[in-house]
């Protein structure tokens, strides 16, 4: 951070109940190294107590504060104002797409949670199943186990919904499982979880994907759903061939 001060116009999507949506503008003096969520929270604190927005951890572990910032999906707690506008510029803040709006900037992400449940997406993984490629620690095989137990870590996917909002297919196919969900299935692997095959190998599963890779572009948490969906297709084809031989 610096002593620098910028003037930024926040243009916020507003909607209450059945009332028609509108945009409200608030001009704020900000430090450009503050995060977008800080500006949104200040609007609530000092300008308009009727504003609602989702947030919790403020450091990208919970996935609550996803919004569209100048038409791009962002996790607003780790998006510096400097990186998305200029001094004197504006920030258009809107709710995520492809989910029903509860009010203002808050959406109902039940669609995603239900699908994550259907593929039994794990919240905590053994380190060996979710390795830390390229991280600053030695790879797990070199590090002694923790009193004989595997190290566990919280999954990379924070279920923030950015990928589903950014996905051009999720908007037109409401039963499409969506990128985060298919990525969770890929991470578990069809070899060890054959019951996932029918769930992902269908029209609302991975064949619905058009390979736009918008999911990977917006993912704030190293999941790379686009690559994982392609890999899952490879796994599905492998399983199909295997089954063909078993039948024969």
């Amino acid at each position: 951070m610096t002593e620098e001060k910028w003037t930024v116009k926040f243009v916020i999507f507003r909607k209450k109940g059945d009332q028609p949506p509108r945009y409200d503008s608030y001009v704020l003096e900000v430090d450009p190294d503050e995060y977008v969520i800080d500006g949104v929270e200040r609007i609530w604190a000092f300008h308009d107590r009727s504003l609602i927005f989702a947030h919790a951890c403020h450091h990208s572990t919970c996935g609550a504060c996803g919004m569209r910032v100048n038409d791009v999906e962002k996790l607003t707690c780790i998006t510096k104002i400097r990186d998305v506008t200029t001094n004197g510029g504006s920030l258009k803040i809107e709710p995520l797409r492809n989910f029903p709006i509860i009010g203002d900037l808050v959406v109902d992400m039940t669609r995603m949670y239900a699908a994550m449940d259907r593929v039994h997406a794990k919240a905590v993984h053994p380190l060996s199943a979710a390795p830390l490629e390229g991280e600053g620690i030695r790879p797990p095989k070199d590090v002694p186990r923790n009193n004989g137990d595997e190290y566990l870590r919280l999954a990379d996917c924070i279920e923030c919904g950015l990928c589903i909002s950014a996905c051009p297919v999720a908007g037109t196919a409401e039963n499409y499982l969506g990128p985060a969900v298919l990525a969770a299935a890929q991470l578990q692997g069809l070899k060890h979880n054959p019951d996932l095959l029918d769930l992902v190998d269908c029209a609302d599963g991975l064949w619905r994907c058009h390979s736009a890779y918008e999911c990977t572009a917006v993912c704030p948490s190293n999941v790379d759903p686009g690559w994982r969906i392609m890999d899952l297709r490879r796994q599905v084809v492998g399983e199909r061939i295997k089954r063909w031989f078993v039948k024969a």
């Binding site: 951070m1 209450k16 109940g17 009332q19 430090d31 995060y35 800080d38 929270e41 200040r42 604190a45 000092f46 107590r49 009727s50 504003l51 609602i52 989702a54 947030h55 919790a56 951890c57 403020h58 450091h59 990208s60 572990t61 919970c62 996935g63 609550a64 707690c77 780790i78 509860i102 009010g103 203002d104 808050v106 109902d108 992400m109 039940t110 949670y113 239900a114 994550m116 449940d117 794990k122 919240a123 905590v124 380190l127 830390l132 991280e135 600053g136 620690i137 030695r138 590090v143 002694p144 923790n146 190290y151 566990l152 870590r153 919280l154 999954a155 990379d156 924070i158 948490s221 190293n222």
Partner: protein, 387 residues
């Protein structure tokens, strides 16, 4: 007999744990929260599942609460926790002077520790400060704050609790004689105002308890005490790393997903509604954090944030106030019937805070229903959204 109706104000850690406990003990429960689940202090916690070792020398009541609750939470909510343990490391001679007291304190509180040589510690965690003189293993963990809270909320909901999120309590309803019989609410998602009547109102608003009690003309001795935390963009350890010394600023570094989080500072304020993240505090975190893990200096900042602890007691310096909690029956303290306030405490002790609060409520209604939350596994956090 129809169920007694409890209205819980606040869906932070305390509120969701109380809602779960009340629902298990047969109450009809309505939770009113002005934002989403854990949007205040609870969501912005450091994320350390305390072993209690941090408090074992100066605040043993908190330390014992922590170690007991640590062991319970590992069992009832495994899908929100990285249970990899922690280390306390001593680097300077001053740290080493704390060693004896630390060993005695942990023994007195029943916290299992094991001393490692510097070589053993560096083998387990190669990114520790190589100048360390000693290290102790402790049963720390880290947790995801939102998913921890959602697991309690989901379980409460499955037992009938109703959650009004994005709904402010704008006033308390009274019976005309000053006793509390419900709340006036403002649902900001739909811009609708309504009243909720209940048999008891539970003020579980943490650092904000004074906002609610002032509606009944009551003040509670609470000191909102914020601290700043900074997240860095790389995971450098598997365990929580603590400085072997009395609690101070920036002396805990936690791994979480692919990050490290350093915290925290401690200062007091009047109004916790908005507290800025001060630049000098952020600088202090990298200074202190890199004392424990030097590689943090080469790591990019990912996020910086602030959370306001609700410390019990008025205007004493932050670190000297006990981290335990207190439940007030305002009938006893202020002759106002129908309102209970719970505040203080720590994330790690959320379940225990709920147990004690609901015990107090049951006693008020002459109910003898035991608490079962310590033995009841919680539902998956996703069940808060999915039926």
């Amino acid at each position: 007999m129809s169920k007694l109706h409890a209205i819980v104000i606040g869906a932070g850690f305390t509120g969701v744990a109380i809602a779960h406990d009340l629902a298990l003990r047969g109450f009809a429960v309505t939770v009113v929260e002005r934002g989403p689940i854990v949007n205040g202090t609870s969501g912005r916690t450091h994320g350390l599942l305390h072993s209690g070792a941090r408090y074992a020398v100066n605040d043993q009541e908190s330390a014992i609460e922590c170690i007991q609750e640590n062991q319970i939470l590992r069992l009832i909510v495994p899908d929100a926790i990285e249970p990899n343990g922690g280390l306390f490391i001593g680097i300077t001679d001053e740290d080493m002077a704390y060693r004896e007291k630390f060993i005695e304190g942990c023994a007195a509180c029943g916290i299992p520790i094991k001393e490692l040589t510097p070589q053993e510690a560096l083998r387990l965690e190669p990114n520790l400060n190589p100048k360390l003189q000693t290290a102790f293993t402790v049963p720390d963990g880290t947790f995801d704050p939102l998913r921890l809270a959602l697991a309690f909320a989901a379980s409460a909901k499955s037992n009938g609790a109703v959650f009004h999120l994005y709904t402010d309590v704008v006033d308390l309803l009274t019976d005309g004689q000053g006793n509390i019989v419900g709340v006036k609410a403002w649902d900001r998602a739909t811009d609708k105002r309504f009243e909720i009547r209940g048999d008891i109102v539970v003020n579980a608003t943490g650092a904000w308890v004074g906002h609610i009690t002032s509606m009944a003309g009551i003040s509670v001795p609470i000191t909102p005490t914020p601290g700043v935390m900074v997240a860095y963009d790389q995971r450098l350890t598997q365990r929580a790393i603590n400085l072997l010394n009395k609690p101070g600023d920036g002396d805990i570094v936690l791994p979480q997903r692919r990050m490290m989080v350093v915290g925290t500072t401690s200062f007091t304020i009047e109004d916790p509604d908005y507290v800025p993240v001060y630049e000098d505090h952020v600088q202090l975190m990298i200074e202190r954090g890199s004392n424990l893990i030097p590689a943090l200096r080469q790591t990019k900042e990912r996020g910086a944030y602030m959370a306001t602890r609700p410390l019990i007691g008025a205007s004493a310096p932050g670190r000297s106030i006990s981290r335990t909690f207190k439940a007030y029956d305002h009938k006893e303290t202020d002759n106002v019937e129908g309102l209970v306030t719970i505040t203080g405490g720590k994330a790690t002790t959320l379940r225990l805070m709920a147990e004690k609060t609901v015990d107090l409520i049951c006693k008020k209604f002459n109910l003898n229903i035991p608490c079962t939350t310590a033995e009841t596994p919680l539902l998956s956090y996703r069940k808060f959204y999915v039926n």
